[in-house]
Symmetry: C3
Subunit: 320 residues, 3 copies
């Protein structure tokens, strides 16, 4: 075989799984964002419900706990009229020694239609997509340090909403990039959508230098990183993920890389400030910025539901 087909797309190039933004064609990304736009109005109606996934069984398989992310998928699926099953995987058969693939085979045999998968191991959603029955669709809700594609897509929706044209933008991603699957998904999306200047900003210990090979400009100085930026994506300082002493202290980090109104002034005057949440006030972002006029952190959450509805309805409609 000369090439390995992107496992997310069927032979017509239609999305059947969402595993990673890496390798997604630009038109597929724009189709998702366009579809999300139509769902945004559904979420503002009196009756926030469309019957697109009625009678479908969506399984939330969270091998790694994340109440917030699970909730966003659960709302999205219920507003599409799906039946949602939350599996408390930590306490289930896997604890009895059943393998991941046996669990998946069993749930597929129950006529599952979709798995929303969160896993601490990078690649787990790929493995599941490769082995599940052809009628089952897989959405990656975050795998290890690898990818968090729905977060990446909602970030793109947000940028497109406020800035319209990707091809003139300078986007700065700031903070703990090495541990961030969000940063990785954002960089792939921004590249595909034609953003000319993508910057990765943070201390040396938290910014992998091989990002340069992806066309990313690496900055270890915040002033340089923010200068003239149109979009600033602050990352969460993943305290719970840090092992050892990769940075001196939260206070030191805030002094050098925390976003305050003064530092925000280095960016373009109409720059927007984004954050995947939950925010650490006073660690990576000052409350005056998080709650300020340039913050679009809460609109990101709103767009996130619409983007997840778009992804779920699109893949459910395409055959393997």
């Amino acid at each position: 075989m000369l090439y390995k087909r992107n496992p997310q797309l069927n032979k017509n190039g239609e999305l059947i799984h969402l595993l990673s933004i890496e390798g997604l064609p630009r038109d597929v990304i724009h189709h998702i964002l366009d579809t999300a736009g139509t769902f945004l109005s559904v979420n503002e109606r009196e009756v926030k419900k469309v019957p697109l996934l009625r009678g479908k069984s969506v399984f939330n398989l969270f091998f790694e706990n994340s109440t917030r992310t699970r909730t966003t998928f659960e709302i999205a699926a219920k507003r599409l009229s799906a039946d949602v099953l939350n599996l408390d995987i930590a306490r289930s058969s896997t604890a009895k020694g059943e393998s991941l693939l046996d669990t998946i085979a069993n749930l597929s045999a129950m006529h599952a239609d979709m798995f929303v998968v969160r896993h601490s191991e990078s690649g787990a959603p790929y493995l599941i997509a490769q082995h599940c029955a052809p009628h089952v669709h897989v959405v990656n809700a975050g795998d290890g340090r690898h990818a968090h594609p729905t977060q990446g897509l909602l970030d793109m929706y947000t940028i497109r909403h406020y800035k319209r044209d990707f091809t003139q933008l300078t986007v700065a991603i700031v903070g703990d990039i090495v541990h961030s699957r969000v940063a990785r998904s954002d960089i792939h999306a921004l590249s595909t959508l034609g953003v000319p200047e993508i910057r990765a900003v943070g201390p040396k210990t938290l910014v992998p230098s091989d990002l340069r090979e992806m066309g990313v400009r690496v900055c270890h100085d915040l002033r340089e990183g923010l200068k003239g930026a149109d979009v600033i994506i602050m990352l969460r300082l993943q305290n719970e993920r840090m092992s050892g002493a990769m940075l001196p202290s939260a206070g030191e980090f805030f002094k050098n890389f925390g976003l305050t109104p003064e530092k925000l002034a280095w960016a373009a005057p109409d720059a927007i400030v984004m954050h995947p949440g939950p925010i650490n006030r006073g660690v990576e972002i000052d409350s005056a910025v998080a709650d300020g006029a340039q913050s679009v952190i809460l609109p990101q959450v709103t767009f996130g539901i619409a983007v997840r509805m778009a992804v779920m309805s699109i893949i459910a409609g395409n055959e393997a």
Copy 2:
């Protein structure tokens, strides 16, 4: 400002949140009870479902665990056709250091319609109601020692059902009053509804003496407290809430304040016996009373679903 408007009511005096019975006008309480009456018949139908909250997203935010109370709200919301999201708050973002108000802002941004809040801190539901978006409604499902308004309302429904007229009644509330948010909610409701004699009955350590300022008669002798009572509300002995030695022992408590058939004979012959559940048989109440002809403990549970349906449908229909 000369007065602070009741945060539960909009400018037309309509209920938009249910935070506490304190300050609720008598006609608002009767409107809730009347509405509950219509839902009681829904719960007896073959198809226990009305479409009043169809397409609405109701979030159960239980910062303090209570499977029983959560279940009653979940049933009520589902019978109103709402989408219900149960958030396991203890394991979610708050654990990652996110503030209560950031959690609320995020969920509001997901186009939540209603928060059902249980919290160990008194006042938490007020704080949430003050800060959430105008389209969101808040129901207090128990906050600290402060209030448990739906329990208070279902108690009023029960009393009205069996006794019709509040203005001739003697109501005795018996037991651990100092730790009881139910007692506080009941006392406010009974006062508002015109009950002429409200008694708080229990040992000195468990009955706050400032109740007298609320027009409550404090009795430290059970015989005096029960004499001629038309309604007896037994409280649960909150073993899990007692710190230190406020009472000698469960056995001693039962001897002095546990309700037995002999002691029940001191009350009016047609007195009803209520309890918010779960009951401690042989601690605050004897099985012969709990299961006896005068007990209305299980009807309280039935009425509770209808009252919660009433509250949720009323507030969802009123604009801030």
Copy 3:
């Protein structure tokens, strides 16, 4: 009273609870299997949903945790359009000292329609069925070592599907029979359905000798047990249930009783291999068998949803 009526059947002999296969008439079993057949097609539709339990409240009461079994009942109930309430019993009122029967009385008072009960104590579902209100139906989802009737029924569905006629079959049940409620349910079902040769196969410590009184042939040699068998039901080695040293080691068990392709050849050439899952690969069954052409382990899972839909819809339609 000269006889005690089967508590699962009403006076017309119709199923109102499913507590055990023991005592179920043959025509009732066949009626369940026939009904399951109609639901199998529902599960293959685009919209996997029928309105038979619309507006009904189904409570999953899992006093013993089993995510997998709970999930199968939750899917089945949702595909019947019921409202499903999952009670985390371990953390609920029972933890506050409320008795099982008080919990049941409370949930019944909420107008529950059905309890799906899993309990580590044999007989708990019977106790609940005896004490719950007449409008409530009980399904045993596994009680102690006693019974697991829906597993037994889905096993019968599987055998009927592949073998059609029960009256010519040799069925071998292999492994840890003494700890297995599945084995007990299967033996009752196979007897009732007229299977002429039922074999219980395993080491002496894991096969109760009193099975002979039930007409079962006990074999302590796997070759003897499998010889000419048309159906092989492998049981899970319940490591988590074994107390003390009833068997030497998993390796030793596999050598003597683990099913490999070589040993499978002792059975009839068209024998089917069943397993209730989750499987322990390399302990009771070799992967080559579990994933092989004679394995019907995944079809069992598919049939299980249809059988549970059948049981729930049948009992909900019959009055006590």
